[in-house]
Structures are given as C-alpha cells and as structure tokens.
Symmetry: C2
Subunit: 325 residues, 2 copies
C-alpha cells in the first residue's frame, strides 16, 4: 500500500515480475478490494501464483515509527512481515515508510545473534562496476562495534551476491592512519584483526566512485547524506547537460540523440531509487524499494529479494557471524 505511487504501480510491476519468474509465488498484502480490482485490470495475470492477503490498515509515509509499532495491528506492512516471520513468505518487499519498516522488522523478525542493529545496504554504481554501501540511514549514531558488524554483514552479502573475496573499506576523510573520528579509528583496528575479511583500510568519497572497494562502510548519517547528495548531483548534471545541449543549434541536434543516453545515465546514478535497499542483520529478508520508485524500481527490489532467497542470505550471515563476532 506504500510508496509515492502505491498499489497502482506495485500491482502491475508485481504481475509483470511474476510472469518473468515461473517458479515464483507472490502475495500482495493490503486492502483486498482495491488489490483485486487492480489485478483484474491486467489481462495476462497468472492467478494461481498470485495471492491477495487482506490488511485493513495503512501506515502513512510520514507516520512516526513508534506510532506504527504501537497502533495499527492490521497494517499491510505488519501483516507482510508476519507472513515472513511465520514462514508463509520467504521475503518482504515494501515501498512504504522506511523508519516504520525498520522498526516493525526488528520487532517482528528480530536481529541475528551478535547483531545489535540491522543496516540498510544498496549497490552504488562506480567507475568499475558497483559497490555495496552501508548503512544508508537506519542508524544515525554508530559505535565502532556497529561499524564492524556492518562491515562483516556487507562482506557476506557481497560474497553471496557473487563477489568473491570482496574488498571492504571504511569511509573516512583521508586514507592515512591518523585521520577520522574515534569510532572509525577503532572500527579499523577491529577489522584489521578480523579473520576472513578482506579489509583494505580507509576510503575517501572519491575513492568510492573510483571503484576502489566492493563494500563501503559508514554510519547511517553519512551514508544517507552521501546517497541523497549523489542523487541530487546526478539530477543536476543531467539537467545541466540538457541545458548545454539546448543552448546552441548544433548542440540541439546532438541533444535529440543524446537525451536517451542521459536518461539511462540518470537511472544508473540513482541506485536506491533504482535498486532498492536491503535490510541486513534480521532473521528474515526485507527489501525496501524507494518511495518514488516506478515499476522498474519495484521490480529491481523484487529481484534483489529473490537473489537473497536463493542464497539464503540470513542463514549464511548467521553462519559467518558465529565465527567472526
């Protein structure tokens, strides 16, 4: 029921994703009459693999997490997470209120042993491919131990999603040993001692985009600001290019050809909007699709959930955490 476009976008995106994955079963959770109506509009829907689970309440995009937790026992978000908790579903994907989704996920699914706080991670494009950036805003204040846990979880997730021996780095204001705040310095010491983690040291903001690491770790305050600033900068660059191309006749002709390239670039450069963000450290799989994600973004989030199910990511994390924490 959540996200800026709500079920009007999520339902057709889900149905089209279902058609692409013959082994998949999907449960749409929310107000059943509306969901039934939206499903009926799509002619080619494979109904035996598409289930509708009624939930009478909706958590608003601006609602406080604490309120979402206390009231609304029948919200679509809560019911979807309960399906995961009870083993009826393998993963939950939501485009709704991020804070509420995190609070409800922690409450209903619990964290893995050894993990104090779950983290949000997404794949950010770089010069050489992409890197996994975490935390993206779930934790604004982090201790060295939290950063260490994020690094371990990021490394295991990157490995599960296909990157052998991923290079793990801590985001910092310099690469020299003396740089940074106390939390980062102490986390670095912890990571240097961790066996089985390919820790490469500090990385700066430009190093991230140069592709110097596969997993980049920071607190949620820094990660959230970095990600949103990157989105804002990417949008600005694309609109500046459009202006540049519109500013002369020859450039205008170029622009006509270049515009589709620019649009592709813009979607490449807005990773969270495009890819969704995964919650790591829970006893279950939860993927957050960007609030303003269109159909393509919803499908990326579903694809991410599917990959994590196939790799049994929470179980895999659990195994590695036992030996590392």
């Amino acid at each position: 029921m959540g996200g800026d476009f709500g079920p009007h976008c999520i339902v057709p995106a889900s149905i089209s994703f279902l058609a692409q994955h013959p082994a998949l079963q999907l449960v749409l959770v929310g107000q059943a009459p509306l969901l039934e109506e939206l499903c009926a509009r799509v002619p080619a829907v494979d109904r035996p693999r598409l289930h509708i689970q009624h939930a009478s309440e909706v958590i608003g995009m601006d609602e406080r997490p604490s309120q979402a937790l206390r009231s609304k026992p029948d919200s679509s978000m809560r019911v979807a997470l309960e399906l995961v908790r009870d083993g009826t579903a393998h993963a939950c994907v939501s485009a709704g209120n991020t804070g509420a989704l995190m609070a409800l996920s922690r409450y209903l699914l619990k964290t893995l042993p050894g993990i104090d706080r779950p983290a949000m991670v997404t794949a950010v494009p770089t010069q050489t491919g992409h890197c996994h950036l975490l935390d993206l805003g779930a934790n604004v204040d982090c201790s060295a131990e939290h950063l260490y846990q994020f690094a371990v979880m990021g490394a295991v997730a990157a490995e599960a999603l296909g990157k052998a021996n991923p290079r793990v780095a801590l985001l910092n204001v310099g690469t020299e040993e003396i740089k940074g705040n106390q939390q980062v310095k102490l986390a670095s010491t912890l990571l240097e001692q961790a066996r089985g983690i390919n820790y490469i040291g500090y990385i700066e903001g430009d190093g991230l985009y140069r592709g110097l690491a596969d997993v980049v770790v920071c607190d949620g305050f820094v990660g959230n600001i970095l990600l949103k600033a990157s989105e804002g900068l990417a949008a600005m660059v694309v609109s500046r290019l459009e202006e540049l191309f519109a500013s002369s006749l020859s450039a205008k002709a170029i622009g006509l050809v270049a515009m589709p390239l620019l649009r592709r670039l813009r979607s490449d450069l807005t990773p969270a909007r495009h890819n969704g963000a995964s919650f790591l450290g829970l006893q279950g799989i939860v993927v957050k699709s960007h609030g303003s994600a269109a159909e393509e973004g919803i499908q990326s989030a579903l694809r991410r959930a599917l990959a994590e199910i196939r790799e049994n990511l929470p179980q895999r994390l659990h195994g590695r955490l036992e030996s590392l924490l």
Copy 2:
C-alpha cells in the same frame, strides 16, 4: 611551495592574476632561487608589484600537522602566515598540506573571539546557482555549539560575498523535526533562537543540489565525504558520458561536439578543486587552493582572497559574532 604541481604552476598563475588586477601586490613565499628562476621565465612580469620572500623549508603534503607546527620554523607556509599576522600581507593563499595550514593558521593568527574552531567553506554549484558548504573537514567531531558557530560564520560570509539575507540550513537525514543525531537537533534549537539568521531548518543531500539553501552546515566528517564523493561522482559521470558517446557512430560525431561541454561541466562540478576553500573564524584571511588545482584553480583561490580582503571579512565576522554569540 605546496600542492601537487608546486611553484611551477603557482608562479605563472600568480603572475597572470597580478596582470589582471592592477592594484594588487603579491608576495611569493618559498625557496627564493627557484622562485626567481620561475619568475624570470615569464616575460611580461610586473616586478615592482611582485615580491619574493625567502623561506628555506617546505612542509610535505603528508606531514602531520603537529610535526609541521613543532619543527620547521622557516617553512614557506609558516612565513606566509607570519606576513599576515604582522600586517605585511592582507591574506595568505596556499595549495599545501591542509591540516598543517589549519594548525599553523590557528596558532599564528588565532581565532576570532567566540569561535572555538575555524571552519573550511567553499561554494558548491547547485541547480539555482551555488551554496556555501561548511565545514569541509577541519573538524571531524563537532558539538551543537560548533555547528551553530559554523552557521553564523557561513551566513556572514555569504552575505559579505553578495547574497542578501542568505537561507541557512543544517544538513540532516530528513527534514522532519525528529530526524538526526543529538548535535544536529540541538544546533537546530540554537539556530531557531538566533536573531538576524535566516534559518530555514534541515536540508537533505538532494536539497543541497536542488538549491534550497544558500548556506549548508554540517560537521567536517560529513562535509569532506560529501564534497569528495561529489567530485568522484562528477568524474564518473563525465567518463561514462564519454563512453556512451564513443559507443556508436552517430554518438561519436556528437561526442566530438559535446566533449568541450563535458569538460566545462566537470570543472563546474569540482568546486573545491576549482574554487578553493576559505578558512572562516580566524583573525586573518587564509584561502586553501586544492592540492591538485591547476593554474585556473590557483587564480580562483586568489580571487576569493581578494574578495574577502575587499569585504574585510574577518572584521565583519567579528562584528556579527559579538552580537550573536
């Protein structure tokens, strides 16, 4: 003597800047024989307005600030700052070691009354013009009071540099009141009570680039990472565009025309490299040119110093701080 290209870049840049500003006098501080030789290579140099001040030592780009402070009494950086302290020069511009420049500036020039720590500020391009972002890395750990002082200094500097009643915002992970860490929340309360500051509340990373504020305040850890990530992203975007344009025949033709536009964009998007960063809160004017700044970047830093001299920025800051702090 500092920067990645050293005096071989700084000397010709300075001489060319001198020619553009007939009222200006410049003092080049460093190893006199080398500086004399470099000056002699430029035919049109106006020697009566160009002075050379010998300093026998050089602070390395990787030297620790504490070491730069204790040893090397005759470094070019220290001698240049002493000229400002003694009133022989109105401002110091350096492309050298940032940490050493900040430590020496604080030690030799002292901070203004009411200011605990100087901040670094630069003008960042936005959708609607530019905003003044501070701190950029001088202070990795900041209290609410520090953030408040940065906001006041940023507002006064923006006003002095031509922006009437600048909109001041705190960088945060959301715009709602409940978002953020303790320091940011408390700084917000302080700013709401400050008279004569046009405080508009929280801003997110994308809001910065959308041009929603004229002064954006954060701690140096966040500011440094944001600025460097933006540089890295801008470089990645430009090289991706180059790749896109090279990927098809028609696009190749476009690319030939588009490349100069892309290069212009790249220099617009690397503000610190291009504009230099100013130290605010000292009893004197110090402008840091980016280590990898070419001649154009050095001249931008000189231009910024000249503007601050004309506006008598430290005096102006002193006046406003007395009434606000």
